[in-house]
Symmetry: C2
Subunit: 200 residues, 2 copies
């Protein structure tokens, strides 16, 4: 059985959100699984001296237009969040805590988290948003709050983020397909061909 | 008659090169012309504080891989140039001087210039390369050398570059389709739909 497609993303990334709606179907068409890997884009950005698009003159205005236009092109509902970009540490910790007991519900959490940010415009930097989203998946609020404060959860999150950056991930979405890196939702067509053909 | 698609690019841009091989056919399929507009990416980069991809840690290694892989994906012959990125001022001036007498030959010059850089690995920062390429299109070497030193040619080049940046161009390729900006060779599919449908 081939290894899963590794899908790294930041919860506050519009292109990561669009990719999250698309990648499972692309992989499934070719009999592949996807390993969802939220991470914290601030870590590679700091390491490499990269600024968020909306902090860069000229790119900022273009990107705000492209975020919405690109989502519409792909048929993905999108409302630009009031708080953008935003911190996602609590959301990433919640994801990996849920994943440690139930990978399917972790993916459901990620999908729901993206929707509350990019459709409902809620503040995902607030840990209570992750608590509320987790509750819709059956996790008791106090249990989630305890997990978010748990050093083991924090350490596991940090290890995953650091390993992603060590492997070369610096954007969102960022994929590894059998070790081959692909950056951007605009590489989904190339990812599909890579999966289908083993490279070119 | 609809206005032409404006196609801005830097002669030392791998993604601009790939787009140059693709854009005419996409436009022609929908009865549109393309206005080729070489410009100098250093100008918006300086204005916006943008670094070339190969100067940014992490992005550099990925980009070198993606330049070649993306070209192969699109079926475009590509050899990464020894001198990269490089100055293209002479090439841009030669283009606009040729265009002032013959737009078709200006496009042929641009296509040939891309090939000598991305296939033959020649030094396009050297004005003599533009002189030699122009010679293959029937322009006498001394006439081209005189044009490259002509203040009117320099001024026209500067005006076109400055106008592009004032309109918001900061990358290569960068397109305007009926005023709508698109950045990147990975937006060719969106450009085609925009031309076909008038937007979405």
């Amino acid at each position: 059985m081939a290894a899963p497609i590794e899908f790294y993303f930041d919860f506050s990334s519009p292109y990561g959100y669009v990719a999250s709606v698309k990648i499972d179907a692309i992989a499934a068409k070719h009999g592949r699984e996807v390993l969802w890997r939220p991470y914290l884009l601030g870590v590679p950005f700091k390491k490499a001296g990269i600024q968020p698009l909306v902090n860069v003159p000229m790119k900022a205005e273009y990107s705000l237009r492209d975020f919405a236009r690109n989502a519409r092109f792909h048929g993905v509902e999108y409302k630009h969040p009031t708080r953008f970009p935003t911190g996602t540490t609590a959301a990433v910790r919640a994801f990996y805590w849920i994943e440690s007991t139930d990978a399917a519900r972790a993916k459901a959490f990620a999908q729901a988290l993206f929707r509350v940010y990019f459709i409902d415009d809620r503040d995902i930097s607030d840990p209570e948003t992750s608590v509320a989203v987790s509750a819709t998946l059956g996790f008791a609020a106090d249990t989630v709050r305890a997990a978010l404060a748990d050093d083991a959860v924090k350490n596991r999150t940090r290890e995953i983020v650091d390993a992603a950056v060590a492997k070369g991930a610096f954007g969102s979405p960022f994929f590894f397909v059998d070790g081959e890196p692909f950056w951007g939702s605009d590489r989904l067509d190339q990812i599909e061909r890579w999966i289908a053909t083993g490279g070119w």
